[in-house]
Subunit: 101 residues, 4 copies
């Protein structure tokens, strides 16, 4: 399944890139396929793989701040093979253009 | 922690209340504190309690349909005791009115 | 249409109930149907009614803090009449129990 | 401000790439800065620019199906200049690596 998540530390600085970097390092070392965008991170794996990873990211940020709001959106579809790049390709084929990622 | 979640079956009927009922029954039998609103369900518990419950709900709906989109928002704060009712009370005290729930 | 929204001030105190109260007062005075839950507020109205209201809430919080993250989920269905209470009733009829709101 | 949005047609096919393509064409023709990821589209602009665009995308999909669930997350920060690429650069500088986008 695909899952996008974002972690917001509440009650710290407006700039959260330091804490977000902590989480991204955990994602990079997880071995799961991932893509970072300017609003969140998309990962691909089984429910347990993905949720274990998000928990570790959440806990790492939570350890540094007293309140964390984490949002997760899961897209789980009965289809074989990786979808992290294929969903965008499928749209690109329909519109006949390469999209900015 | 508090978590609100909603499960959307994609590619079935527009009316999803039958599949949503499946999930709500699992929530009711979980023993966790919960509240149902017209856009999702809020539950309170530890990360593992909450995520195990959401997984069971997601899997039950996913078994009935080929694609499911599940959204989860977690509010995790270093504060003791139940927060599921207290967050609203805290707002009510500030505005001096009881709110519609 | 139905829309649930939540507004998170980033870079202020962990306790956000003061700023949330600001927004709730705007909702109460809007004349739209609404329900408050412990993770957000559900409102019912047309796209413009709902989005104008959310913009006013967002702006009021944003004026008090340098960064705000606002989440909105819209459920727009071709069906007549109010849905803010009816969605839950529909589930209650299926499971044969009144739910905690 | 930055906003990520995704539009889910409910009660149609599991495959939604046709309807999503409709929306992406509207985004491409809007003149706003945007990036497409496998879970949504990020756009940058003022509240009115962004919300007018999302409304047109939502309406285009809604015209083709009886129920649509649209999710929007807004990150609004008092900082000058474009942030759509800068947020990721800021994380990349901290971790010393270029990220997959």
């Amino acid at each position: 399944m695909l899952a996008e998540f974002s972690i917001i530390p509440v009650g710290k600085d407006e700039s959260v890139s330091g804490l977000v970097s902590l989480a991204i390092e955990i994602v990079r070392n997880s071995g799961l396929e991932y893509r970072v965008n300017s609003m969140g991170t998309v990962v691909e794996g089984s429910w347990n793989e993905v949720m274990d990873l998000i928990k570790r990211c959440h806990d790492a940020v939570r350890k540094e701040t007293g309140r964390v709001v984490t949002s997760i959106t899961i897209d789980d579809r009965a289809i074989s093979g990786s979808r992290i790049g294929r969903k965008i390709q499928s749209v690109e084929e329909k519109i006949g253009h390469v999209l900015k990622k």
